[in-house]
């Protein structure tokens, strides 16, 4: 029998809801069968913790005396370039931003020791961050210079707004060339020396709701240790990719744009990262609850690592050159076994997203719901689905002629 979100919320408030993690549901579905499991379980909690580059935070610093207009000027947080292209007191700091004097990849591989992701982590940790800004001065905003310490507790707003997170599946990266390469998928050793992947697989939110039946705009989620919301479909959202018989995408597919109050979050779940030879970023923890509305929702939520497949891609050639070629498909069960077979060779695997933290997140979210602190939301509008004609296009480059 189908359930509604209102019915599930009533059970949560009464302390009667049955909540399990996306890992636990696998055994429950196996022993009890889909029908019984769908009747007995109300909510399945998912989780993922990985480096998510399209993350950043809006800060409102409060007005200076006399007034200064950041908009159109220049601003730095701990020397990292921030974006002040708004009104007087708003700023955006992106996770990949760097200080102007960072040597970047001048000597390869660049170390990228400090960037926007680290600034966000330090802000969240309650540390003082140095804000230096210059402005052009107007009659109503006369001031031109600012150099001050700021602290998250004094900011009017600190809002995490990640325009693309929680990728529904991702490439497995390998290197077919003869030299070591440094990528956003980590160090890739020559001649298929290793393979890296970056998804929590059977715990990952969008892999457990492959057609976005319950996850939509307005869905309340665990974000960076606090409560956040799905704001929109993420950039590069690409629902109409190759899918298995179980409906699970075999390539990078859907994405989420998420928003939440940075002041509630924790540096344990927002971690500044440095990818050697690539750049700075932010490790983000996200957890999404899936209300078990019917058997179909449960069947999808119970998918196992063995039933979820990802494409193996050569990052020495195919990826940088935008060639569509893949070297094969492997399941997350194979990836987690420690070796996969690519072109007949046994290749050791390593994960970039933390499965143990994903387990932790799904457990925390389960705890919140069981205690009645976290109610489920009806989505305001669905994410674009397979038939939406939303696709992921390359740039149509039209060189400017001189």
């Amino acid at each position: 029998m189908a359930k509604t979100i209102a019915e599930i919320n009533k059970r949560i408030k009464e302390g009667k809801a049955v909540v399990v993690t996306a890992e636990e549901i696998i055994d429950i579905a196996r022993t009890k069968g889909i029908t019984r499991a769908a009747q007995e379980v109300d909510v399945v909690t998912t989780g993922t913790f990985g480096v998510m580059c399209s993350s950043g935070a809006y800060l409102n610093i409060g007005h200076t005396k006399p007034r200064l207009k950041l908009g159109g000027g220049k601003a730095y947080l701990n020397d990292v370039l921030a974006y002040p292209g708004f009104a007087a007191a708003d700023l955006f700091i992106g996770s990949n931003a760097l200080p102007d004097d960072d040597p970047r990849n001048r000597i390869r591989p660049g170390e990228f020791n400090y960037g926007g992701g680290h600034v966000i982590e330090e802000l969240v940790a309650g540390k003082d961050v140095r804000l230096s800004a210059t402005a052009y001065g107007t009659d109503c905003y006369p001031r031109k210079k600012l150099d001050t310490w700021v602290n998250i507790k004094d900011l009017n707003q600190a809002t995490l707004l990640n325009i693309r997170n929680a990728y529904q599946n991702y490439n497995v990266a390998v290197n077919l060339s003869d030299k070591l390469i440094y990528t956003y998928m980590g160090m890739l050793k020559p001649r298929l020396g290793n393979a890296t992947y970056s998804s929590a697989g059977q715990l990952s939110p969008l892999l457990k709701d492959p057609y976005y039946r319950t996850i939509g705009i307005g869905t309340r989620i665990f974000l960076g240790g606090g409560i956040g919301y799905v704001a929109w479909h993420g950039t590069q959202h690409n629902p109409d990719v190759l899918r298995g018989d179980n409906g699970v995408p075999k390539r990078g597919a859907g994405t989420l744009a998420v928003i939440g109050d940075l002041k509630q979050m924790s540096p344990h779940w927002l971690v500044g990262t440095s990818m050697l030879g690539y750049g700075c970023s932010l490790g983000v923890g996200i957890g999404v609850p899936i209300p078990v509305l019917d058997e179909e929702v449960l069947r999808h939520a119970a998918a196992t690592d063995g039933e979820i497949f990802a494409a193996v891609v050569d990052y020495s050639d195919a990826y940088p050159k935008m060639k569509p070629d893949i070297l094969g498909e492997v399941s997350y069960a194979e990836l987690k076994s420690g070796t996969i077979k690519v072109q007949g060779k046994n290749v050791p695997t390593a994960s970039l997203s933390s499965y143990s933290r994903a387990v932790e997140i799904s457990g925390i979210l389960k705890g919140w719901i069981q205690k009645g602190d976290f109610l489920l939301t009806e989505s305001v509008a669905p994410l674009p689905g397979v038939d939406s004609e939303v696709t992921f296009k390359p740039l149509n480059e039209r060189p400017v002629e001189y």
């Binding site: 913790f49 990985g50 480096v51 591989p109 170390e111 020791n113 030299k179 070591l180 980590g186 160090m187 050793k189 020559p190 020396g193 290793n194 393979a195 890296t196 971690v271 500044g272 990262t273 440095s274 990818m275 050697l276 970023s281 490790g283 987690k336 420690g338 050791p348 695997t349 390593a350 994960s351 970039l352 997203s353 933390s354 499965y355 143990s356 933290r357 387990v359």
Partner: protein, 138 residues
């Protein structure tokens, strides 16, 4: 007769030196006793070896000189590599980077275990660990 010394050092053999019998020369030409404690091959095919050398101070110094001339990089094993447990996110990126297999995944929890005993202090994980959880201590 000078006092005997016995030291543990880490040798980094660049790829071009790998097929030369360097250690054999150390024993024959410098009368040093050696004990190979660990050996592995790094990602760029460079050799890594933790070795204990014993001999007179004079022979030891000459032997080290010889190693430097052949292009071998020498590092003292007093450098210790430690994981900052608070910063480690248990991702696993280090697992296939470490040439000495000092990291492994615990099957059930999928937590990343670091075995300091296996570490040859090559330094690769220091820069490659995304949250910079691996630290060198002198």
């Amino acid at each position: 007769m000078m006092a005997a010394v016995s030291k543990r050092i880490v040798l980094h053999f660049p790829r071009r030196t790998i097929d030369r019998p360097i250690i054999w020369h150390l024993a024959r030409d410098y009368a040093l006793e050696f004990n190979i404690l660990k050996a592995s091959i790094g990602p760029e095919q460079e050799g890594l070896m933790v070795i204990e050398l014993t001999g007179t101070q004079e022979d030891y110094d000459k032997g080290i000189n010889f190693l430097v001339k052949t292009g071998v990089k020498i590092q003292s094993l007093s450098q210790d590599i430690i994981r900052n447990e608070d910063r480690c996110t248990q991702c696993g990126a280090c697992v296939t980077i470490c040439p000495a297999n000092a990291f492994c995944i615990e099957p059930g929890s999928r937590k990343v275990i670091f075995d300091n005993e296996k570490c040859v202090a090559c330094g690769l994980c220091i820069k490659a660990c995304p949250p910079h959880a691996m630290e060198v201590h002198f």
